[in-house]
Symmetry: C2
Subunit: 244 residues, 2 copies
Amino acid sequence: MTPHIVDHHDPSTRSQIEVVAFDADDTLWRNEEFFRGAEDLFMELVGPYVPDGVDLRAALTSVEVGNISLSGYGVKAFGLSMVECAVTVTAGRVPASVIGRIVDHVHDLLRHPVEILDGVPETLAAVGATHRVVLITKGDLVHQTRKVRTSGLEHHFEHVAVVLEKDPDAYRRLLSEWDINPATFAMVGNSVRSDVLPVVEIGGFGIHVPYHLTWHHETVDDPEHSYAELGSIRDVPAWLAGHA
Amino acid sequence: MTPHIVDHHDPSTRSQIEVVAFDADDTLWRNEEFFRGAEDLFMELVGPYVPDGVDLRAALTSVEVGNISLSGYGVKAFGLSMVECAVTVTAGRVPASVIGRIVDHVHDLLRHPVEILDGVPETLAAVGATHRVVLITKGDLVHQTRKVRTSGLEHHFEHVAVVLEKDPDAYRRLLSEWDINPATFAMVGNSVRSDVLPVVEIGGFGIHVPYHLTWHHETVDDPEHSYAELGSIRDVPAWLAGHA
């Protein structure tokens, strides 16, 4: 059963959304807060050993973004960047005990229980009643897999993919592997850069559900693309029903 | 064109291998050496700060294996474990500069060029002429993807999967996703524990090509399963040709 109106006479000019993909971090569950919390702890612990005039937060961002191509997104990569930054910015004056606390915190983050966002289970159930549902997330393979498995949401997803980077090629590869026509594909997520623009680029639908926090690396200054922006994930089923 | 003899009258009792999967680390390219090298550097750098009577190598292994379920396999997880161990074993006496060198070495490992093992490109080309070829590896998503992309071998593989753990469930999921019948599937790799036993368990063929170094976590003490053991990856095409 589907609420869509389909023009059977000319399928090439109208497409019906058949598959809905959801992003995970900050779309299904809280994530950015935990990174900010780790950053705050880093500032508090390392700050006292930093020479006057050094902007510690800017230094951390610089190390972190500089390492992305090498170590990727996710908590472990961030942890190694925090350690690297703590040592270099303090010219080795930071005590090992401080570094130990940072690494302990990283391991704590990896085992932290998933905190599902409001409206998510109901939305997945509603969308799953009318569409095929998949999950596409980037980040650390171990951590993301652990979160999916302990979230209580795994049964909603026909496929779960953890990718390195959410660029058009990555979406093309996944859709080809899953035998999904991009014109029938919609992606729901909190990042315009990762969840919306590349999906629009390959001919799919991007549905932006903003999160109250967005990592600087995920913001897009001047998006000139069209896509849906919804106030809440709870609005997704109605948007799908209204879309033909 | 395939060299196999197939009994067309009773396909259920004979299966022809159609898909050959290769492991990556220590099967296609050198890996374990780099971990051992990092471990040796760790011993050399941290050793001087360790109390008498403490077995530093055993402590590192203990921290490392204890963190696997949380942080997984791969260089970044190993790096965080080295930092954790350096701080705890020395009760914080290790200088931050030493930790900085360990983290720098981890980042160096992530960018180290792939060193292809002897006979690999020819073998992949030969097997690819008669079979579908895929790659299944575990470890760090970013690092493994980088290695595949820079190896010059990527074009040989119809699919590349980086999984969390190579257990029977993981193989079942992949084969189902790729629409492969396990009875027609062979896996080539250096680990009996990861590449052979789980594949035999789901009804496929395990082809063990030992590497001169095997990580302690990958050894199996008393395998009571039957599988092929080849002296070199160069022997794979002949084994496939002889198998019907």
